[in-house]
Symmetry: C2
Subunit: 222 residues, 2 copies
């Protein structure tokens, strides 16, 4: 009985994810799911890349959190449409909750939708939201053992960002260790080092996003 | 139907938690559940306090992780009995898994059992393992907004450790902000600042643990 119910939960999520992707495809919106633990620096990365991309891409943001609208407030200050999705204690975003967010965004006027998932290195990775791309973030202050310890976070990522690299000299974080472990889990993802506070690596992140915004949506702006 | 099954999951966990607590009480073992996000510094705190307490208390450790035995290896080097509990992708420890760990530890020879939960700021807080005390850890590199954003992590804590405080000058972390938010969630917990790498604050943590090891178990050693 338990298995049947859990299957239904995943089935319902997958159905909603497919609907989300079809809707985003129809509107020519490229959707990115940003994953990582609490405090990995996901919102700071958004704050770094949105001002760089704002003139080239019409961007929208969905902010996932258990509580508070702190992150949506930070993104709102950047002048792009943002909706705060509150899970009310839930440990990950679901495609159903994203669906509610999509209804409140001006999709026809967007080229790219960035979804910042709940800060949690485990559960969000198991739920397709209807995104086209996944970016997984690991901060050097979390430790270089975290790729091996949290493989699901990195397995399906298209890009892996190692953040807060300016703090690396103050930690035991070893880039070779983490790169070796990441390559065992995921051979194809690019790995990018960033220092959002110094705007180092964030230009490369912005370029990565721009390159992956599909031609159809770029064309639709003309 | 879904609610009924979920109730059964929690009911089963609560039953196992009660059995664990009864067993620990019977053996005079004080049990501490250590919670926090990935990379909050939980294992480093264990590495700092176990050598201080080892001569006063007979300690055992259960290490919870999704994958790898890295943390158990670190604790094993300290010369105390340790069992690695692998959740196989699961996002938190359960009382049932802890029960299996208890069977493999020499409980009659222990005064204190430390359980390091899976690194996740959300799900572990919802599952009683049969512990007597909870310690929640937040590293300053995670950000001072995390108390407000992850209230469940701190709500039932007996002690809140703010870790990696040596890195605070390099962050925007504000102790007043986090203390104010923590006090809204939990009025009674002590709040302790630590720098495990410099052994600052860890002596106070060791004392806190020693003070809470119940007299019955201390007596049983004589």
């Amino acid at each position: 009985m338990k298995i049947k119910v859990l299957k239904n939960v995943f089935q319902r999520n997958d159905n909603a994810a497919r609907e989300n992707r079809e809707l985003l495809d129809a509107r020519g919106v490229t959707c990115v799911n940003l994953l990582g633990g609490a405090g990995a620096g996901k919102t700071s990365l958004l704050e770094a890349v949105i001002p760089v991309l704002r003139d080239s891409l019409r961007m929208g943001v969905l902010e996932g959190d258990l509580a508070t609208t702190k992150d949506a407030t930070r993104v709102d200050a950047l002048g792009v449409p943002v909706i705060q999705l509150l899970t009310d204690g839930g440990c990950h975003l679901t495609a159903t909750l994203v669906q509610q967010g999509l209804r409140r965004l001006p999709l026809d006027g967007l080229d790219m939708l960035l979804i910042e998932n709940v800060g949690n290195p485990i559960c969000p990775a198991g739920f397709d939201l209807g995104e086209h791309l996944r970016i997984s973030v690991l901060s050097v202050t979390e430790g270089d053992d975290k790729a091996a310890k949290y493989p699901l976070l990195f397995k399906d990522a298209d890009l892996i960002v190692l953040s807060k690299c300016d703090l690396q000299p103050l930690t035991d974080f070893d880039f070779n260790t983490v790169t070796r472990d990441l390559r065992r889990i995921n051979r194809r993802a690019e790995i990018l080092q960033t220092q959002a506070r110094r705007a180092i690596g964030t230009e490369a992140l912005a370029t990565w996003l721009l390159d992956r915004c599909r031609p159809s949506s770029a064309a639709s702006r003309e």
